[in-house]
C-alpha cells in the first residue's frame, strides 16, 4: 500500500516533468531573428512545405533530428519565419538543381551528398541547431557525426540594424549551399582525406581563420581521366588524383560554388524565383574570390543587372 502511494506520487512527478518537457518541446522560442523574405515566401509557396509526409521525409533523410530543433520551429514545420522550416526550404531548393548535360553536377548527386543518412558520399550524420558559436559562424562540422547550423543562415535582415556589416547569409541559395558544403566535410572524413579548412588570409584567400580551401579546377561536363563525364550521375563522388594534369577532386567551398553555379545558370525556373538565382550567382562569385588559396579560374554568369538564366 505504502509502495503504491509512493509509486503514484512518483508517477505524478514524472508526469508533471514529462508534460513540462513536451510543452517546452512544442513551444517555439525566439531562436534567431525570425522572419522571411519575399523571395523565401514565393519559393515556399511553390513546393509542398505543409505536406506532412514530405516534411517527415526531409526530417528523416536530412537528419534534422536533434532535440536542438525542438525550440526552433519543428512543431510549426511550415512556418518559414523559423529555422526548422528554413532548413526544409533549403532542402527543397537543392531539389531544384538541374538534371541536364553540360552542368557541373546532377541534382541526384547534390541530393545524395547533402543528405544526413548514410549514402555513398558519407556515413550517417545529423544536423544540430546552434544559436551562436561566436561571431560570424554560419555552420561547422567539427565533430564526425554531426553538423551545426547557426543563426546567420536563418536571421531575417528585414529590420534596421544598429550594427551594420553583421554577417548576413540567410539567402536561400547560400543556406542550401552551406548544407552542401558542410556535408562535404563528412565526405572528406568518409574518404580519408583532410577535412579541415586552411586559415587565411593566405594566397588568394581573403577570408580568416578556417575559411580557405584549394580549388581543383574542372569545367562542367569535362571528361575525367577514366572517361567518365563530370556531369554524369555519380561523378561528384569520384576522384582522380593524378599529379599535375587530370586532378579531379573537390573541396567544401568548391562544391558549394559549383552548386551555386548550377542553380544560377541552369536551376529550375519552374519553382525557383529569379531573385534566388541572382543571389546564387552573386554569393557564388564572392566565394570564388574570397575562399580559395589558389586562383579559381572562372566567374559565374555575366555582370549585368538582370541576367538571362536558362528558363525551362
Amino acid at each position: 500500500m505504502k509502495l503504491s502511494k509512493t509509486f503514484c506520487r512518483r508517477s505524478l512527478v514524472i508526469a508533471a516533468i514529462t508534460a513540462l518537457l513536451l510543452f517546452a518541446a512544442g513551444v517555439v522560442v525566439e531562436a534567431c531573428t525570425d522572419g522571411a523574405t519575399t523571395t523565401e515566401l514565393a519559393f515556399t509557396a511553390a513546393w509542398r512545405p505543409c505536406d506532412q509526409d514530405l516534411v517527415t521525409s526531409f526530417w528523416q533523410g536530412w537528419g534534422v533530428t536533434d532535440d536542438s530543433w525542438n525550440p526552433a520551429g519543428i512543431s510549426d514545420a511550415c512556418n518559414e519565419n523559423l529555422p526548422f522550416a528554413k532548413v526544409m526550404n533549403a532542402i527543397a531548393f537543392i531539389g531544384g538543381s538541374p538534371t541536364v548535360v553540360g552542368i557541373f553536377h546532377q541534382r541526384g548527386d547534390y541530393f545524395q551528398e547533402s543528405r544526413a543518412n548514410a549514402t555513398p558520399y558519407h556515413d550517417d550524420v545529423y544536423l544540430r541547431f546552434i544559436q551562436s558559436h561566436g561571431a560570424g559562424v554560419e555552420a561547422q562540422s567539427a565533430s564526425g557525426d554531426h553538423t551545426d547550423l547557426d543563426c546567420p543562415i536563418f536571421n531575417f535582415p528585414g529590420v534596421p540594424t544598429p550594427s551594420p556589416g553583421n554577417p548576413n547569409a540567410e539567402m536561400l541559395a547560400e543556406r542550401s549551399a552551406v548544407i552542401i558544403h558542410e556535408m562535404w566535410h563528412h565526405w572528406q572524413v568518409a574518404h580519408d582525406t583532410d577535412s579541415k579548412h586552411m586559415d587565411g588570409p593566405r594566397g588568394s584567400c581573403t577570408a580568416g581563420s578556417g575559411a580557405c580551401d584549394w580549388f581543383y579546377p574542372h569545367a562542367p561536363g569535362s571528361a575525367l581521366p577514366n572517361g567518365v563525364l563530370s556531369d554524369s550521375l555519380g561523378a561528384l563522388n569520384q576522384t582522380n588524383v593524378v599529379n599535375g594534369r587530370g586532378l579531379y577532386f573537390h573541396s567544401p567551398y568548391q562544391v558549394m560554388v559549383e552548386f551555386e553555379t548550377d542553380i544560377a545558370i541552369w536551376g529550375s525556373s519552374v519553382f525557383m524565383p529569379f531573385a534566388a538565382r541572382q543571389e546564387a550567382q552573386n554569393v557564388g562569385n564572392v566565394h570564388l574570390t574570397s575562399n580559395f588559396v589558389n586562383a579559381a579560374g572562372f566567374t559565374i554568369g555575366t555582370p549585368v543587372p538582370f541576367p538571362n538564366y536558362v528558363t525551362r
Binding site: F7, T65, D124, G301
Partner: protein, 290 residues
C-alpha cells in the same frame, strides 16, 4: 486499482518518453523524396513609379526568370526619370537592408536604367564605411589572445557581395564617370572580390577589347594581373570554349594548380547518431505571417 492506475500512467509516460526521446527509430529510406512543385505564377508587370518602388521590387523578388524581359521593359519606360532614380537610390542601405536580395534588386534597377544620376549613389554604396568587407573586418574575427582557435569561422562576406554588385552596375552604366569609378575600384577598393568584379565588369561592358584589357592592366594590382580575362560561365558560353580558356588559365599560371589532397585515415565514426527531436508537425498547415 491504484496499482493499475500507476502502472497505466507509467506505461503511458514511457510511450510518451520514447516518442520524445527517439526510441522509435524513424524508417530509413534510400529513396530520394519526390518534390511535386507548383509552377511559380507569371505575374502582371508592375509599373515602376515613385509610389510603386516597393511593389515593383516585391514583383521582381518573387517572379520566375521568364519575366526578365517584362522587368526590363518597365524600367526602360522610366529610365530618364530622375525621381525614379532618387526613389530607388534612397532604398540603398546597409543599415536597413530589407533583405540581401532586395538590395541586389535596387542595385540592378539602377544599373538597368543606365542613368548618369545613379552613378553617385552607387559609388557612395560601393565605398560606404557602414559595411566593412573581409579585408577591413578580418582583425575583428581573430581569436582572443589565449583563447582556443575554435570556433572556426565560415563567414560569408555579404558586404563584398553587395559592393561587387554595385560596381557591376556602375560598369553597366558605362558613362565616362562610371568608367573612371570602375577603374578606380580595380586598384583602390579594399575588397579583392570587388576589385576582381570591377575588372570583369569593365571588360564585359567594353567588349573585352584589347584597349579595355590594357586599361585594366594599367590599374590592376601586380598580384591580380593574372585574373584579367577569366572565362565567364553563362548560358551563352560555349562549353568547349569555356573549358579551353579555363585550361589556358592554369597553363599560364601553373602555380595556381592545387597540390594533391592530404590523406587522413581514422576519422570515421561508427556509432549511429542519436534521434532526439520530436517529430515535425506542420500544425494547421498554414505557416506563419505570409
Amino acid at each position: 486499482m491504484r496499482h493499475l492506475t500507476g502502472a497505466t500512467v507509467f506505461l503511458f509516460l514511457l510511450v510518451l518518453l520514447c516518442f520524445g526521446a527517439g526510441c522509435k527509430r524513424g524508417k530509413e529510406s534510400g529513396e530520394l523524396p519526390n518534390i511535386q512543385v507548383v509552377r511559380l505564377p507569371t505575374q502582371s508587370p508592375v509599373p515602376l513609379q515613385v509610389a510603386t518602388v516597393d511593389k515593383f521590387v516585391d514583383w521582381v523578388s518573387t517572379m520566375p526568370s521568364s519575366q526578365i524581359d517584362d522587368v526590363k521593359k518597365q524600367i526602360a519606360l522610366v529610365k530618364n526619370d530622375p525621381k525614379i532614380v532618387d526613389a530607388v537610390a534612397s532604398r540603398l542601405s546597409f543599415n536597413n537592408l530589407g533583405s540581401y536580395g532586395r538590395q541586389l534588386i535596387y542595385l540592378s534597377i539602377l544599373g538597368e536604367m543606365k542613368n548618369e544620376r545613379a552613378v553617385g549613389p552607387l559609388q557612395d554604396y560601393l565605398n560606404s564605411h557602414d559595411c566593412p568587407v573581409f579585408e577591413e573586418r578580418i582583425n575583428l574575427r581573430e581569436p582572443a589572445p589565449g583563447a582556443s582557435d575554435e570556433p572556426r569561422t565560415s563567414l560569408f562576406d555579404s558586404c563584398a557581395g553587395l559592393k561587387t554588385h554595385a560596381v557591376n552596375m556602375i560598369a553597366y552604366v558605362n558613362s565616362a564617370a562610371a568608367q573612371r569609378a570602375v577603374l578606380n575600384a580595380i586598384s583602390e577598393h579594399a575588397s579583392r572580390s570587388v576589385r576582381l568584379g570591377a575588372m570583369n565588369a569593365y571588360l564585359y561592358n567594353n567588349g573585352d577589347s584589347e584597349q579595355a584589357i590594357a586599361a585594366v592592366r594599367r590599374r590592376a594590382r601586380p598580384e591580380e594581373l593574372k585574373f584579367i580575362g577569366l572565362p565567364r560561365l553563362s548560358p551563352e558560353t560555349s562549353a568547349k570554349d569555356f573549358a579551353d580558356r579555363m585550361e589556358r588559365f592554369y597553363t599560364a599560371n601553373p602555380d595556381e594548380r592545387p597540390p594533391l589532397p592530404t590523406r587522413v585515415v581514422g576519422n570515421r565514426h561508427n556509432a549511429r547518431p542519436p534521434r532526439r527531436s520530436v517529430e515535425p508537425s506542420v500544425g494547421s498547415g498554414k505557416g506563419g505571417s505570409r
